[in-house]
Subunit: 258 residues, 2 copies
């Protein structure tokens, strides 16, 4: 039996997950997004219907996936009757209980990865964390997760939130630092490309050895000459200067402890 | 003609560069380090002599490489007579002029990469930035650099410093965030390995598309629910909490501007 899915949400995560589930686990029959354009784009890619009106969300699906901004979940779901069918959200930060009252069968399927539209990822290697409000639904979510990923783990809401916080540091904040470096270089007419080998090796090192052992640079050596000189150089970049100062301190304090 | 090199310094960078130059460009005949153990370890790897005494630094080398902590350079060099032979430092942050007075032929060969002892790197792909105080020495440094790297660029001290600052953000600060994420997860008994695919993809994205376009997560969406919730969760981790707050603000401010 190949289940029919409805996707509520058509953002970065939904776009990837819907395509993957549609290919491996069943059929996505409808995509909802408040932004019609997003709903249409995703729906057309997988031959599904789409709607931007909550009242038109189908009751014909077997399983509903929710991939909305956390703050929108409750408001959108309260306008739909899910007829107690399995309702699964995909958020790292939202507890399972956020689905309470919207269905008797609730679950979470959280793929720990950064998704950007139009950028393919190998889903089979993505760690997926699952949770559910009863054994039967957990079994369902687990089975669905295992059709798309080789690394499925059961994890409660509290730990999933911690995982999400760690991902904010290791991905969102890291990427922001790539951005800051890029913009700083571009202001000097130096191409960001020169940092590519460094970025690749920094990531490879953290995967090959513990990042604590991989730490290099002026802050961990506490080379005050360089740190002060860099801060002077950043005088006309107050945002960078402030971050440079606070993160250098954090690195130094952190490694001093050991 | 295959030149003889002397290496002053035996840290992470020196260890890699000396091995590479010894293999491709000439013969390292001596390694100096204040720490005898470091000098010996590197020297034994390449069949060179070693010393931990500045007065024993050889006068028989054709070219001298300086790979010391910036703050130690001046003091160590002032104790040696280089007989006006080519003197080349390898620092991103130190200006060429830091070598003034120690030789009439001074240069810089700066490989933009993070080096950890015992971890091999493909030198041919590392961008190397060169500078010198006269045309002949520049030609020499350029030739040496080209024997080990396919990407050699001439760059002045001011721009090299900017490059180094950008590397601190894209590598040292990034790695610190990997560390913080690892320690936070470990405190929850979650293995850091679960972040490996995310770390790898975050780096690949920044190389494949501009990192500004790759930004994801609660801060760029300004999802206050998640941000506030994460800050609450981090109450017992004051260092993480402070960084989380300031970097989320920086991401939001940065993307608001566009």
């Amino acid at each position: 039996m190949s289940p029919n899915f409805c996707f509520i949400g058509a953002g970065n995560l939904a776009s990837h997950l819907a395509v993957e589930l549609n290919e491996k686990a069943g059929k996505v029959i409808q995509v909802y997004s408040r932004t019609e354009e997003s709903a249409r784009t995703l729906a057309e890619k997988i031959g599904a219907d789409f709607t931007s009106q909550t009242e038109n969300i189908t009751s014909a699906a077997d399983i509903y996936f929710v991939a909305l901004k956390d703050s929108a979940v409750s408001e959108v779901l309260s306008r739909v009757d899910f007829l107690n069918k399995p309702l699964i959200h995909c958020s790292g930060s939202l507890p399972l209980s956020a689905l309470d009252g919207f269905s008797s069968k609730t679950g979470v399927l959280y793929p720990l990865q950064t998704f950007s539209k139009g950028r393919p990822v190998d889903f089979s290697k993505i760690p997926v964390f699952v949770e559910a409000n009863n054994r039967e639904t957990l079994q369902l979510v687990q089975t669905l997760a295992e059709t798309i990923s080789e690394k499925v783990t059961s994890l409660d809401s509290e730990k999933r939130k911690s995982l999400h916080i760690s991902a904010v540091f290791a991905c969102n904040f890291v990427n922001h630092f790539y951005s800051l470096a890029a913009e700083f270089l571009e202001s000097m007419n130096i191409e960001f490309d020169v940092l590519h080998p460094l970025i690749a090796e920094t990531a490879r090192k953290a995967i090959g050895m513990h990042p604590r052992k991989a730490q290099t640079g002026p802050a961990v050596r506490y080379d005050e000459n360089i740190i002060d000189d860099h801060l002077t150089q950043l005088a006309t970049f107050p945002e960078l200067k402030e971050l440079y100062s606070s993160i250098s301190k954090s690195i130094f304090e952190h490694h001093k402890k050991s």
